[in-house]
Amino acid sequence: MNPSGVTAVSAETALALYRTMRRIRRVEEAIVERYGEQRMRCPVHLCIGQEAVAAGVCQALEGDDQIVSGHRSHGHYLAKGGDLKAMMAEIYGKASGCSGGKGGSMHLIDRAAGFLGATPIVGGTIAMAVGVALAAKLRGETGIAVAFFGDAAVETGIFHESLNFAATHRLAVLLVCENNLYSVYSPLSVRQPEGRPIVALARGHGITADALDGNDAEAVHVAALDAVESLRAGDGPVFLEFATYRWREHCGPNLDNDIGYRAPEEFEAWLSRCPIATHRARLLNDHRVEEGVLGDLEEDIDKEVRDAFTFAEESAFPPAEEMSTEIYASESR
């Protein structure tokens, strides 16, 4: 399965990683292509360029593991098995959306897939993941909880409060930081001390932590597997920082190198480290997967994405009455 010995995972796993990344990419590229039609009328935070983190981590999770995310959540939702059609319908504001159209791109959910929800207040869902892990501990359940967040989230108080509590109770929560160097258009240098790696914050809390290449899907996956093993063994929370890069603008479909907050060379360097292209090459060269296999898989994905958009576009908008429903859950048990 891993004949060359160079790669760390089986060809099967590598293929699955590819499929997940390529699917996320295609979905978001389709959003890029069609956002200008002005039928997706909500903010979208695309993760093109960062797919390896979502894919590598979620591939290490089991059915009863559950995740939360933030504003940039499409990749996490899809990697965890979230329903693509329901996601696209949500972005289109349709009744068939995963949140009935009430949430939009920033409020995805798929309980069946273990995607507990994403909300766009930076840092806001980290504590929730810790709460999910607390619930598991109190109930003696085995699933682990995962929070995905960006490099700005480590600046929030709730991040630290959550880590302290998780460490104190040795909760089975995996904290995944996607460090893409920017918070909106603000580089790390204006937000965090020079020379202090993000991973040091987690270590300060006494938490097992590592910093890795977030554009290498296999490396991400292997690190996540180790983390999950340690979490299941009851060894307390694990923090993983992944270096990666967002290709498109912070919010919206466009490239934004013209506005000048990041250097073209930096951008080019990261483009050349595309997590999908490098992984594809590895599949062909190291895992000896046939080009045709990939081609078929890509075609499948393209078709699935087309279908999902068609589904979303053809779905009905929620009727006016829907505005006034689901404000409160069932009045009592």
């Binding site: 559950q66 939360v68 959306g97 995963c98 949140s99 009935g100 159209g101 009430k102 949430g103 409020h107 959910i109 309980r111 507990l116 929800g117 909300t119 207040i121 806001g124 869902t125 980290i126 504590a127 929730m128 993941a129 810790v130 709460g131 999910v132 892990a133 607390l134 619930a135 598991a136 109190l138 109930r139 909880a145 108080g157 709730i158 409060e161 959550s162 302290n164 509590f165 104190t168 429903t325 689901e326 404000i327 409160y328 859950a329 069932s330 009045e331 009592s332 048990r333």
Partner: protein, 348 residues
């Protein structure tokens, strides 16, 4: 079987029964398992329920998020704050997240969470240990807000809150913890959203919120001595709020006075007055009045605090004016004005 117990004991008993009835209920808060047990409201619970009764770090914001996370997956957390003022650190989680979770995910998730907050008063609690910001929570769709004034309601509303599938803000006034009342031993529910008429009357409707219900009852007693028959309604819930009961009463009496523990300006009294005006305008004999805190942070010195808080006498005075009657002498308040009862000797 009913006994007379304190409001604090009623809270403790309700919590105990909820913990016993449902393994998903857990209780967390600063000092919950400590020897003082949050003003006696959590005493013995740790011993009886073990891991589901927890202390916490001074991390009000994250602990609210933790409770939300646990609630989403089916736990029913009760989170306590020894002062509402401390809970302000968790507003983002309460208002952006808990209140909206059910709606913004199209009903896919719900947050059965109870957040207890104590409203401080007296003995120099001062500006940062005494705020009564129920108006804020009552302004937020997705939250429910209850403010029991009696031991009976303290228990019944807490059980109802824990069993409710929504985030419920449960506000307890520090001066109520030691008050006593008949409380059934067995679990029971007081429906959220129902006001209660504590006293019937003809001339005016006094709506009391939390501790001010006690002062309103005192005022009604004094007014009765002057031949004025005041109806007293204990609002109990602010969101949803029982407009029907208040309106029905005011339609009969033609007069309304709201006595609130919070600030008047922008307070919940304005909501009650507005709804009454919108829906019973033709029956109003005189403009409704609101009694509550002035537009001033809480002063600490007892010499100032005694002028800060409205009391039964202020209600009586206002009612006499509303009825075009001359001023009456109130029996002077006996004892110090900055303690709930003579047994209280500080410091907290």
């Amino acid at each position: 079987m009913s006994r007379v117990i304190t409001y604090a004991e009623a809270i403790c008993e309700a919590t105990d029964q909820c913990l016993a009835a449902d393994a998903n209920v857990y209780l967390m808060g600063l000092g919950v398992p400590d020897p003082k047990g949050v003003f006696g409201t959590t005493l013995g619970l740790k011993e009886r329920h073990g891991a589901r009764v927890m202390d916490m770090p001074t991390s009000e914001n994250a602990m609210t998020g933790v409770a939300i996370g646990a609630a989403i997956v089916g736990m029913r957390p009760i989170l306590t704050h020894q002062r509402l003022d401390f809970a302000l650190l968790s507003i983002e989680q309460l208002v952006n997240q808990a209140a909206k979770f059910h709606y913004m995910f199209g009903g896919e998730a719900s947050v059965p969470l109870v957040v207890r907050m104590v409203i401080g008063r007296g003995w120099g609690q001062g500006p940062q240990h005494s705020q009564s910001l129920q108006a804020w929570f009552a302004h937020v769709p997705g939250l429910k807000v209850v403010m029991p004034a009696t031991a009976y309601d303290a228990k019944g509303l807490l059980i109802a809150a824990v069993e409710d599938d929504n985030p419920v803000i449960y506000l307890e006034h520090r001066w109520l913890h030691g008050t006593k009342g008949e409380v059934p031993e067995e679990p029971y529910r007081v429906p959220i959203g129902e006001a209660r008429r504590l006293r019937e009357g003809e001339d005016i409707t006094l709506v009391g919120i939390s501790y001010m219900t006690i002062e309103a009852m005192r005022a009604a007693e004094v007014l009765a001595g002057h031949g004025i028959s005041a109806e007293v309604i204990d609002l109990r819930s602010l969101r949803p709020f029982d407009a029907e009961t208040v309106i029905a009463s005011v339609r009969r009496t033609g007069r309304l006075l709201v006595a609130d523990t919070g600030g008047v300006t922008g307070g919940f009294g304005g909501e009650i007055v507005s709804q009454i005006v919108e829906r019973a305008f033709d029956r109003l004999i005189c403009p409704p009045r609101r009694i509550g805190l002035p537009d001033i942070p809480t002063p600490t010195s007892p010499a100032l605090a005694r002028h800060y808080y409205p009391r039964a006498g202020d209600i009586v005075t206002a009612v006499m004016e509303m009825l075009d009657r001359g001023p009456v002498a109130m029996p002077p308040a006996d004892g110090p004005l900055d303690v709930p009862d003579p047994g209280f000797t500080g410091p907290f």
